[in-house]
């Protein structure tokens, strides 16, 4: 499967009377965008705002972040199973408005979380302070059940990203990157002397506000399966996960999965990157056993010599991570784990809820319990009082001057467990 990613670099986003990309600027016709995303009677109102890097703007609470993309050539469309039909994606050509992002906001549950600061201390922790954000502020009708609310807002984000992505369909990209993975047997033959590496991609799948979808299907219902890495670049995996802002994978991060990108960087040089195995993180222990057995079996079955395993979340997923690690290492296949830590505010507690001596190679995205003070911002998009009831914050965390004292777990993408960010932690 061969996919060309055409990157159109976006330096600025502005409202205009026509939606188009010109000289690196994304112009948006707000009315048309609103028309495109509206129509869901579950939402009372939708508004659009723009937040640019360096502006004194805070977005809170953030639900999801999505990258505008469009399919230019090849089968299917972006977000199969949601916006497009369930054709297999990941081949042909896709254009990306690189540097632009759709951000959805709205209080889905009372304790919502997720902060993006466009400047100041907090901006260092979130990757989305560097993108030009088109923020969709969604307000539900009264008494809308949480499931429905989450789904409605999720769809608004996907629609907006596709609508904006279409503006780049006929634009000549600034950069084209080609990714290719052959059918397994051919791929193995292509670099016979290089070690075969697989990526074990664990998806959050515990239930309400903790879900991930693959081609429209709820990941808790899958058994682990094999996918071509390029499928994710077309939005085959999307987030319905609204809890734990720091280490959940927003849809944007699934679409730009950095482990897949960086494995491709060494593909054909040091390793033979043969594909991805997606698996889930269920609550029922028998499901965990089944999924980890199945994952280890698949890793062995396709003949991998080594694997990177990434998890999503805390607690329950730590058990899946350890089970996957143990069962894969027991087959003589080398692993590296990617996680983050909950070592307490003083950093002195044990970081994970489970451990194994086989996990001797671990990359950490940092301690999510670290305290941070976010300075006041001139403008707040969303609900600033949400800071008081934010997970990782606490009553009184929103100060009178508008500053927020909280743990970095409130910041969207701060401790990405697929290694999207630069944060790490060291033992002192």
């Amino acid at each position: 499967m061969r996919l060309e990613l055409g990157k159109i670099f976006i330096k600025d986003v502005q409202f205009s009377d026509v939606t188009k990309v010109e000289k690196g600027v994304l112009y948006i016709n707000k009315e048309e965008l609103l028309k495109e995303v509206s129509g869901d009677e579950r939402l009372k109102s939708i508004d659009v705002e723009i937040a640019r890097p360096g502006e004194e703007v805070r977005i809170i609470p953030v639900k999801d972040v999505i990258e505008p993309r469009v399919k230019v050539e090849g089968k299917g469309g972006i977000f199969p199973g949601f916006i497009s039909k369930v054709d297999t994606v990941g081949s042909g050509r896709t254009h990306i408005l690189k540097g632009a992002a759709v951000v959805t906001t709205g209080k889905i549950v009372g304790f919502q979380e997720g902060i993006i600061d466009m400047t100041g201390e907090g901006a260092k922790y979130t990757p989305f302070s560097k993108t030009n954000n088109v923020v969709l502020v969604c307000e539900p009708v009264d008494n809308l059940p949480q499931h429905e609310h989450e789904e409605a807002v999720r769809m608004v984000g996907f629609k907006a990203a596709c609508y904006l992505g279409r503006a780049g369909k006929d634009v000549e990209p600034d950069e084209i990157k080609v990714y290719e993975t052959l059918p397994l047997l051919e791929q193995v033959k292509m670099y016979p002397s290089l070690p075969k590496v697989v990526y074990v991609y664990m998806l959050q799948s515990q239930g309400l506000l903790h879900d991930t979808y693959v081609y429209g299907i709820d990941a808790k219902k899958i058994i682990p399966t094999f996918i071509y890495p390029t499928e994710v670049f077309d939005g085959a995996i999307v987030s319905g996960n609204c809890v734990s802002a720091c280490d959940k994978n927003p849809t944007y991060v699934h679409m730009n999965n950095p482990i897949i990108e960086d494995l491709y960087e060494r593909h054909g040089k040091d390793i033979n990157f043969i594909g991805c195995i997606i698996t889930n993180e269920n609550v029922y222990l028998a499901d965990k056993e089944r999924s980890s057995n199945y994952t280890a079996k698949l890793v062995e079955f396709i003949g991998a010599d080594a694997a990177i395993i990434s998890e999503e979340g805390f607690g329950n997923p730590d058990a899946d991570l350890v089970m996957n690690c143990n069962k894969i290492e027991e087959k003589g296949i080398k692993t590296v784990l990617v996680t983050d830590e909950y070592a307490g505010r003083d950093g002195a507690s044990q970081s994970l809820a489970d451990s194994t001596p086989k996990g001797d190679a671990v990359v950490t995205a940092g301690n999510a319990n670290e305290l941070i003070v976010l300075p006041p911002m001139k403008k707040v998009i969303g609900h600033k009082e949400a800071a008081n009831i934010i997970a990782g914050g606490y009553a009184g965390s929103l100060k009178e001057d508008g500053s927020i004292e909280a743990e970095i777990q409130v910041i969207t993408g701060a401790t990405s467990e697929v290694g999207f960010g630069y944060l790490s932690a060291k033992g002192f």
Binding site: F111, G207, V283, G315, N316, N369, G392, Y394
Partner: protein
């Protein structure tokens, strides 16, 4: 082999919604940690843990609610995985709670926590 569950909970919504279908041990006055300790006692006696005690991304020092399923059947052999998971979960929960106690939330937020806890256990059992 699907084992018949007993649900240990302090969540009124879990009780109300699941008691018609399952055996539910409900203690509204128990803290999250009390629930975990009750579950541990079951595991020590030979019951198996069916669901992960730290399910969900809401940390044990953020929500007051907890629902956990253990097997109704008590086995002669103690299940190692069950014991590992429950003991590690208790340690982790204690650490986080010690670090930063549960905040007092208003009624609306409590309802949300309650709903999520219930939804996760419901999904796990279905």
């Amino acid at each position: 082999m699907k084992l018949k569950p007993v649900i240990v909970t302090n969540n009124p919504l879990t009780k109300a919604s699941l008691e018609t279908k399952y055996e539910v041990i409900f203690n509204p006055d128990a803290s999250l940690l009390d629930i975990l300790i009750t579950v541990r006692d079951y595991v020590h006696k030979g019951h198996r843990l069916l669901t992960h005690p730290l399910m969900g991304s809401i940390k044990p020092n953020q929500t007051p609610y907890k629902s956990v399923a253990v097997s109704r059947q008590c086995f002669d052999e103690i299940d190692l995985m069950s014991i590992n998971i429950i003991e590690e979960s208790i340690l982790k929960a204690q650490q986080l709670i010690k670090n930063k106690k549960i905040s007092i939330y208003n009624h609306r937020i409590l309802e949300d926590f309650s709903l999520i806890d219930f939804d996760l256990i419901k999904n796990a059992l279905n």
